[in-house]
């Protein structure tokens, strides 16, 4: 179907390109049929990226290509994209069937189907069979969201763009809808760009994702790569719980490099030669009381019981540290350690 390329896309607001910069050299390739997520805190530029793909905003610089075709100057109505907004934006003066069928006023239904048949098929796809006569204000939030999805898919777009479509729903509904969206996406095999601020959601549903921060792409990769090998300090801290440290490189001891933090020496996997500062991160789950390397005395401050595990917030030498234990600690003082291989070195820039 379609692959999507963003080549060094920049977006600057304000006159003559002197205003605030919303996107800086965003370079992303979304492969045909892929479920690709843009994730980041609010204001990071993920929604702006989506809007430039849809054609609602023009990039100040760079190119957007659908299957190699440059899209500059192509208005949204001629891009063949389906968009679902956070507010759903159902047309309040049209019933469900009219909403879903709206795009078919401008494009023929695929495979020579009639409009009515296509609308009925789409409603069935999103489990809203027979609801065509309802008015939007008679629907629940989850139902509206599914109508919006059916409407976006009805003209068989080349590309599906979802802008935080779940964030107005409660947690349980969100999970079931998330499964439905991924099922439909893989059934149709449609290239999809999904925008969310929820990193856990991004990890759970994406084939690949891009973590964005301050208008820049920090890292692109599969969920496992992003989680296990964060490329920057921002990614390390934004995706999942993490402990990030920085220290002075003291030298090499066999297969390990030695790093000093406040006088304590920590063993890490071998660092490149010539580095004098090093940043690394250790996931809470990698810190255990049983480990015999890199022992750190921790003062417990709070414990949060999460069911299977307990999240412990504490301090080591005055630095914040997060642990994941199997039970609430009995004492306020405990010592944990981690194997050098469990530390991930973050590239310094």
């Amino acid at each position: 179907m379609t692959d999507l390329r963003l080549e060094d896309v920049s977006k600057v607001y304000g006159a003559d390109g002197t205003g605030t910069s919303a996107l800086e050299d965003v370079d992303i390739t979304v492969r045909d049929g892929e479920f690709f997520t843009l994730v980041g805190p609010s204001g990071c530029g993920k929604t702006t990226t989506l809007r430039t793909i849809a054609g609602f905003e023009a990039p100040t610089d760079g190119a957007i290509r659908f299957d190699g075709r440059e899209m500059a100057g192509v208005p949204p109505e001629r891009r063949d994209v389906g968009v679902v907004f956070q507010s759903y934006a159902l047309f309040p003066h049209m019933n469900v069937a009219e909403n879903v069928g709206y795009g078919l006023r401008f494009r023929e239904p695929p495979d020579g189907e009639t409009v009515d048949k296509r609308v009925a098929d789409l409603l069935k796809l999103v489990d809203l069979e027979g609801m065509g006569d309802r008015e939007p204000d008679q629907l629940s939030g989850g139902q509206r969201q599914r109508v919006a999805l059916a409407r976006a898919l009805a003209p068989a777009p080349d590309l599906l763009l979802l802008d935080e479509p779940m964030s107005a729903l409660d947690a349980q509904l969100r999970e079931s809808l998330r499964r439905q969206v991924t099922r439909i996406q893989s059934e149709l095999g449609i290239t999809t760009v999904y925008v969310t601020h929820d990193q856990a959601e991004a990890l759970a549903i994406s084939d690949r994702l891009a973590v964005m921060h301050d208008g820049r792409v920090e890292q692109v990769g599969r969920p496992q790569e992003i989680y296990r090998e964060p490329a920057t300090r921002f990614v390390a801290e934004f995706v999942g719980d993490n402990n990030v440290f920085e220290g002075d490189v003291r030298g090499r001891n066999g297969e390990y490099s030695q790093v000093a933090i406040d006088g304590e020496t920590i063993s890490l996997p071998a660092l490149p030669d010539g580095a004098d500062r090093a940043a690394f991160c250790v996931r809470p789950g990698a810190l255990s009381q049983a480990a015999d390397h890199n022992r750190l005395p921790v003062t417990v401050e709070t414990s949060e019981f999460l069911g299977e595990t307990v999240r412990v917030n504490g301090r080591w030498n005055g630095r914040r540290i997060v642990l994941q234990l199997s039970d609430v600690p009995e004492s306020d003082e405990l010592t944990v350690g981690f194997a050098p291989a469990d530390a991930h070195i973050i590239d310094q820039d």
Binding site: P76, E77, Y102, G103, F106, P155
Partner: protein
């Protein structure tokens, strides 16, 4: 062989026409915007520009002599003439100001004002030495008095509407927009029918064996001011009620829990939130009454002339340069006032929507409460309001079917006879009615698309929209008479174009242009609030689904703001039906007179037919108001 050929050509034609349509659709918004801008340029900016040029050109050379003549003439500017004549003699001016202030005397004495009763009351007397106000000074003076009267009459209404629950409260609240659709000349005739020598008031007094009292001759200024209050007190009440209802009841409760008495909480929490609204209403009232025209013309005539009435008189005497100079001065003043109003309004735009609206107490829960002092005061106010607001309109209807001796249909019979037997140079009722309806419909056809386009452009254009908004709202700050002169000189007399061409618009077209320009801001005011609250994602969804910008407007935005468009259209129609100031100038000596103009022409000779004609106008206006009310029209932004 010819059949496939033809169908071939047909298909090609169809394809081409589909192509043309798509091209038009894609540019529809730009094209309609350009057309609107063109109409505005020709029908609004050109006429106003012509007036400005007229004021500074004498025999083809630029001059400020006209301004100098007006500004140094005590007839126009009163005592300020000396100041304008010698602006540098600051000392002399200050001395005369001090002298004047020194002549103000304040005295306190004990007097017994009631004859026959020796009830001593301390009497505060303020004596101000007479001052020559001039035409502008008098205009401002009557506007200030009208503003005070409007606020005094409007605030109690706001208090009752915001704090008490009673049957008909909502209807009463929505009736406060009525003045905007009532033709000024009709209201003037209503006041005439009430306060005139043979008016309903004197008829009532006659039944009691009193009168007749010549109210109109006695103090015409007072009648004019009450008529202005009739117009503007509802406006003051409306903006104040809106502010009062947006006061969060929880904030008052918070003040109470922190130790404030009910009175203190009202003063500290409620009053500061009401004051901006009251000031807004007062400023608007001052602007409107400064530019007043039909009411003063009909009730006061030249002896009470305001700037506007005097300009009209100059035009009738063909003194165009003088009229244009006065028009420019008046427009500059009203623009300054409007600018002050807009600045002030935007400065306090952070009016919060109440989280919890204040609760209302029943007005008359039982007889005992109904007799409490506060309730009795409200009843008293209600009676005054009844006289001021219902009196004139009721008098209009009553006056149309009575004369000094009882019920009669003579006034309507006169209208009918005039229609059937009148000469063509006379004012025929049916011609007036037909013209009014025709111009009303034509105004709709022009003003509604214009208003909608201005709305779309301003709402969607972001910061640039404010500039467009300001430019497009100019008609609200230019008085009808000034605009009428501009149209007369710019379009009716025509302007020369390069190459020997002449641009000229006459008769009905010029009047429709005047009405459309006066009416479209009301369409915009009704559509814009709805349009700006629409989720932009609605249009974007439609675009992503394949709709062009124009199709998205047609399929999504317009249906969702339909009620605003209908309300705006009803306003536009009512404005056109009631428009007097421009029409009376443009219709002079032609067959394009409308109902309000006919009312004024009859009024000059016999009051009975004028009152009957005014009643017909009332019926037509009431019909359009019902439409406004049904679809939830609004004047507020």
């Amino acid at each position: 062989m010819s059949r496939p050929n033809r169908s071939d050509r047909g298909a090609r034609l169809r394809r081409r026409s589909a192509g043309v349509r798509r091209w038009l659709e894609r540019r529809a918004l730009v094209l309609t915007t350009l057309v609107t801008a063109g109409v505005l340029a020709v029908m609004l900016y050109l006429p106003v520009g012509v007036v400005f040029v007229e004021a500074v050109i004498d025999d083809g050379t630029a001059t400020l002599a006209f301004f100098r003549a007006v500004l140094t003439d005590p007839f126009y500017v009163g005592v300020l003439a000396d100041v304008f004549a010698e602006p540098l003699a600051v000392r002399a001016h200050l001395e005369s100001l001090v002298g004047w202030l020194g002549a103000i005397s304040v005295s306190v004495s004990i007097e017994s004002p009631l004859p026959g009763v020796s009830l001593p009351i301390p009497w505060l007397a303020l004596e101000v030495p007479p001052i020559r106000k001039g035409l502008f000074g008098f205009t401002a003076y009557q506007a200030a008095l009208s503003t005070i009267a409007s606020v005094a009459l409007g605030l109690p209404a706001a208090y009752v509407l915001a704090n008490y629950e009673f049957r008909g409260r909502r209807t009463l609240r929505s009736l406060t927009i009525l003045p905007f659709v009532l033709p000024g000349i009709m209201v003037a005739v209503g006041f005439y029918a009430m306060f005139g020598r043979a008016g309903t008031l004197n008829q009532g007094l006659g039944m009691l064996g009193l009168g007749p009292i010549p109210f109109m001759e006695w103090n015409p200024l007072a009648i004019v001011i009450v008529a202005h209050a009739f117009y503007n007190a509802p406006l003051v009440a409306r903006v104040t009620v809106a502010a009062w209802e947006s006061v969060d009841a929880r904030s008052v409760e918070t003040a109470r829990s922190l130790g404030a008495s009910p009175r203190r909480a009202f003063r500290d929490v409620v009053v500061p939130q009401l004051l901006p609204a009251i000031l807004t209403g007062a400023l608007l009232t001052f602007i409107f009454t400064f530019m007043t025209f039909p009411i003063v013309l009909a009730l006061g005539g030249l002896q009470l002339a305001t700037v506007e009435v005097w300009i009209y008189d100059r035009v009738r005497r063909l003194a165009y340069s003088e009229a244009a100079t006065l028009a420019v001065l008046e427009t500059l003043l009203s623009l300054a006032l409007t600018y002050a109003y807009l600045r002030y309004e935007s400065a306090q735009s952070g009016l919060a929507r109440a989280a919890t609206a204040p609760s209302r107490t029943p007005l008359f829960p039982d007889l005992r409460t109904a007799l409490s002092p506060r309730r009795l005061a409200i009843i008293g106010y209600g009676l005054v309001a009844l006289v001021v607001f219902v009196g004139p309109l009721a008098s209009l209807v009553v006056g149309s079917v009575t004369d000094g001796n009882g019920v009669t249909l003579a006034h309507y019979a006169f209208l009918l006879e005039r229609q059937l037997e009148g000469a063509s140079y006379q004012t025929l009722p049916w011609v007036a009615i037909r013209n009014s309806l025709l111009f009303g419909v034509a105004t709709l056809a022009v003003a509604v698309p214009m208003g909608v386009v201005v709305s779309v452009v301003t709402v969607r254009a972001g910061r640039g929209g404010t500039i467009v908004d300001t430019l497009a709202m100019l008609p609200l700050a230019v008085s009808g008479v000034v605009f009428g002169i501009g149209l007369l000189q710019g379009l009716v007399f025509g302007v020369s174009l390069p190459g020997g061409w002449r641009f000229q618009v006459t008769g009905g077209v010029a009047i429709v242009a005047a009405h459309a320009v006066a009416a479209y801001p009301f369409v915009t005011r009704n559509v814009s609030p709805l349009l700006s609250t629409l989720d932009p994602a609605l249009v974007e969804s439609a675009r992503a689904l394949g709709a062009s910008r124009y199709r998205a407007l047609r399929d999504v935005e317009l249906p969702l703001v339909a009620s605003g468009i209908v309300a705006g259209a009803a306003f536009a129609f009512a404005i056109s039906i009631g428009e007097f100031s421009s029409t009376v100038i443009l219709a002079s000596g032609s067959q394009t007179y409308t109902m309000p103009v006919a009312v004024e022409r009859y009024l000059g000779r016999r009051s009975g037919p004028a009152i009957a004609m005014g009643t017909v106008l009332l019926v037509v206006t009431a019909a359009s108001f019902v439409v406004v009310d049904r679809v939830g029209g609004r004047f507020e932004r």
